[in-house]
């Protein structure tokens, strides 16, 4: 079921950096222009000596695609990974970052988040990049009627790579009345929009459908067949809908389709609530290629379900946040937090990185273009510290568990640019910085 995708356009918009244009700022900017030009000319002479723009030195690299799990240097040039090797001389790079004691991974891919359409949507850059997430997949915010608005309003202006699982509902995730309206679930029009915008749309989402029967899932799958893309499902299984999770994952979803909210208890019943055992039909669905996505969110990560499933070795295929304005608060469901929860429930760090990079990239047909640190690929890199101590983690019911490991985002590189640097590792001290320049 592998879709043939056009290569995503990687052109990032040029942004007025550092300073918001507002009354008063223009005069200052004009005054600084001359010296900036001079500095750039001078700097150009110095930097022309450097082969690389950026060098991350001595970090513990976890790059599952290339079977790297050890201390390595990573050099970046022209926005791409230029070299991954044991010892790259610091003198060859304009900017050198000491990553000793830290983990360096491919930029994370959050397969399920909300940055458009939905009332709880967040802004991709300030929610993703500080968390080490360089690719965010908006899960169903836009439908075929509203996708162009998302493209202009969110995808193009964002530094984060934003992709879309387009909603089978033409109006997108705009409220229950819209989401239950089968008449607005048009497989042909949805597929046509996907084919028109393959660079940005990677699949289809059906969400929150509360009506009777299988129309929402059937039409999403039909659109998926037309456009050759996967479907992500989140769907209520209350009895009045006439649907069961067993039928859903065994006969409705195709291999490569994804069920999100895996550790929920009312959209999918991974664990039998009486016996505490992982349901045999879930294992059967996994064997036939249906993917199970974390999709933490504000209601879908529950300790009683997650702890029991994980203890039986049933791990999600992909780790995602279902990040929105509520899940980011008490449950704190950003990618490092979701990964930390997985670690404390027994998943090894390497496995958690695999499920946050390679696996989501494969799920949306973008592997190996994304999710790796392979030479020649776009340089999306995350740097983390794995802290040890006693930490509290909170589920969607606002109950806590205590764990001894916590992953903390330290630095993020997106398309070769240092976009987040919690400890200023890539920048000079203030008294050696020159007075009026914004340091790049």
């Amino acid at each position: 079921m592998k879709a043939i995708h056009q290569r995503a356009s990687e052109g990032l918009p040029t942004r007025a950096a550092g300073w918001r244009a507002r009354p008063g700022a223009f005069a200052a900017a004009a005054a600084g222009m001359k010296s900036t030009t001079m500095l750039l000319l001078f700097a150009g002479l110095v930097w022309s000596q450097s082969r690389y723009d950026l060098l991350l030195k001595q970090g513990h690299v976890i790059d599952p695609a290339n079977r790297i799990d050890g201390v390595m240097d990573i050099a970046v040039a022209g926005g791409k990974i230029a070299r991954v090797a044991a010892n790259i001389p610091a003198g060859e790079a304009r900017k050198v970052i000491d990553a000793q004691g830290l983990y360096v991974t491919p930029g994370l891919i959050d397969l399920h988040a909300h940055v458009f359409g939905y009332s709880g949507s967040l802004n991709p850059d300030d929610s993703a990049l500080p968390a080490g997430t360089t690719t965010i997949v908006d899960a169903g915010g836009a439908g075929w009627r509203t996708f162009e608005e998302m493209l202009e309003g969110v995808i193009r202006p964002s530094k984060t790579r934003v992709l879309s699982l387009i909603n089978i509902v033409g109006h997108g995730m705009t409220g229950q009345a819209f989401e239950d309206n089968v008449a607005d679930m048009d497989s042909e029009k949805t597929a046509a929009k996907i084919i028109e915008r393959r660079a940005h749309i990677v699949g289809i989402k059906t969400a929150h459908f509360g009506g009777y029967g299988w129309a929402a899932i059937d039409r999403a799958v039909a659109a998926g067949n037309l456009a050759k893309v996967p479907v992500m499902v989140d769907d209520k299984i209350f009895t009045l809908t006439g649907r069961t999770s067993k039928e859903k994952v065994l006969s409705k979803l195709r291999p490569g389709d994804m069920h999100t909210h895996v550790f929920n208890d009312r959209q999918l019943e991974v664990v039998d609530r009486y016996s505490g055992k992982v349901q045999p039909y879930v294992l059967e669905a996994r064997a036939r290629g249906v993917l199970f996505d974390l999709g933490h969110g504000g209601g879908s990560f529950l300790w009683p379900v997650a702890a029991k499933a994980m203890a039986q070795g049933f791990y999600p295929d992909t780790i995602s946040t279902d990040l929105h304005s509520s899940s980011i608060m008490m449950a704190e469901s950003d990618m490092p937090n979701c990964i930390s929860k997985m670690l404390n429930l027994g998943m090894p760090l390497q496995g958690a990185i695999l499920r946050s990079t390679v696996n989501p990239a494969k799920a949306i047909g973008r592997y190996p273009e994304m999710g790796t640190l392979s030479e020649g690929q776009i340089a999306d890199i995350a740097v983390f510290r794995l802290k040890t101590g006693v930490f509290a983690f909170k589920d969607a019911w606002q109950h806590k568990d205590l764990g001894t490991q916590k992953l903390e985002s330290v630095l993020t590189v997106r398309a070769g640019d240092l976009v987040f640097d919690m400890e200023g590792r890539g920048f000079p001290e203030w008294d050696k910085a020159g007075k009026y320049e914004v340091i790049r």
Binding site: R15, A17, G18, W19, R20, R22, P23, G24, A25, A27, A28, G32, S119, L122, N123, D125, D126, S127, L129, P130, D265, R273, W303, P304, A307, S325, I328, M329, M330, E332, F391, A392, F393, K394, D395, W397, Q398, H399, K400, D401, L402, V419, F420, D421, M422, E423, G424, R425, F427, P428, E429, W430, D431, A433, K435, Y436, E437, V438, I439, R440
Partner: protein, 328 residues
């Protein structure tokens, strides 16, 4: 009405935290009891048994909910709950995203959607909005117009009682002149390269704000606790920093009901941890200051409810909550 002599039952009790409340002159270990969204009692030794939920705040400072008078929360800005509440800010003031014409949509999409109390400096003359929404519109962005305070980044056009922001930016506004004129000084976006020499000359800010937007939240990481940590690293005391993020901004926006822990008042509180370690911060121009201490917000109470709790201080362990209990 409770019968005389009856003991009130509290919804939330913050026990044994180091309370710093500049307006009420508090700077000691105290218990704070909350009932029905209001501060019910501030005293030593309030019995834990009198509250439905108890937070042990022994390791932390407890302060009034912080006030950030310069942020950008409009369509092209950032999410206030995500970036403000999580760093102890319970009142965030938008600096000019909305004009008199666009205020309506700003109100429905941002203000009404946020748990954070979002107030606004309206861009340009607010017209009848000021009278219609006196509890939201606190002033004017840009230059002074009418009687309300103005927030601007150019001294020209500001009067005594107005607020000059971005005071330590590379534009270097004339701070001594502004202070002489009675204009309040607000940090907003700032550079260590400008701030450190200015602080040495005694030009301290009247209010500390973040100036947060999509850009400053990335490399400069300008959340409130981050900016407070930066000012502590530049030599201000914790008390000085808290004065400038609670009662200082409350006065500047003329909202005496905000910025303190007062019995009968709205229960907006921040619980802060002062961590030590080898740290460094970046400014708006991406220069670095190395530091040894950092403030972090571990818990935020807004309108009496716990809305942020990074250490799970107020929460039950799931094994004690029943396997399928959905009761909070």
């Amino acid at each position: 009405m409770m019968p005389i002599g009856a003991q009130e039952i509290y919804d939330l009790l913050l026990k044994n935290g180091h309370v710093i409340d500049p307006k009420n002159g508090r700077n000691e270990r105290l218990d704070i009891a909350i009932s029905k969204g209001r501060v019910a009692k501030v005293a030593k030794g309030i019995p834990a048994a009198h509250s439905r939920r108890v937070v042990d705040a022994s390791d932390y400072y407890v302060t009034p909910g912080l006030i950030d008078i310069h942020g950008h929360f409009g369509a092209d800005g950032v999410n206030p709950d995500h970036n403000s509440l999580r760093s102890g800010v319970t009142t965030a003031v938008d600096a000019g995203s909305a004009t008199a014409t666009t205020f309506g949509s700003f109100k429905t999409t941002v203000i009404d959607h946020s748990k954070t109390r979002v107030l606004a400096f309206v861009n340009g003359d607010p017209g009848p909005l000021a009278a219609k929404y006196p509890e939201i519109v606190v002033g004017v962005w840009g230059a002074a117009a009418g009687k309300m305070p103005a927030l601007g980044d150019s001294l020209a056009g500001l009067r005594a009682g107005d607020i000059l922001t971005n005071i330590y930016s590379q534009a270097e506004p004339p701070l001594a002149e502004a202070r002489k004129k009675g204009v309040l000084l607000d940090t907003g976006q700032f550079w260590f390269r400008v701030a450190i020499p200015a602080l040495k000359r005694g030009l301290l800010p009247d209010t500390i704000s973040t100036g947060m937007d999509k850009t400053t939240l990335l490399l400069p990481r300008a959340t409130m606790t981050n900016v407070m940590s930066k000012f502590m690293a530049m030599g201000l005391t914790l008390e000085q920093v808290l004065e400038r993020t609670t009662i200082g901004p409350a006065k500047a926006i003329r909202r005496p009901d905000l910025g303190s822990i007062t019995v009968g008042g709205m229960a907006d509180l921040a619980v802060l941890e002062l961590r030590t370690g080898k740290l460094a911060f970046l400014d708006s121009g991406h220069a670095k200051l190395t530091a040894g201490k950092e403030l972090r917000c571990v818990l935020t109470v807004r309108n009496g409810a716990v809305v942020w709790d990074s250490e799970g201080l107020s929460l039950t362990h799931w094994r004690d909550a029943g396997p399928y209990s959905n009761f909070k």
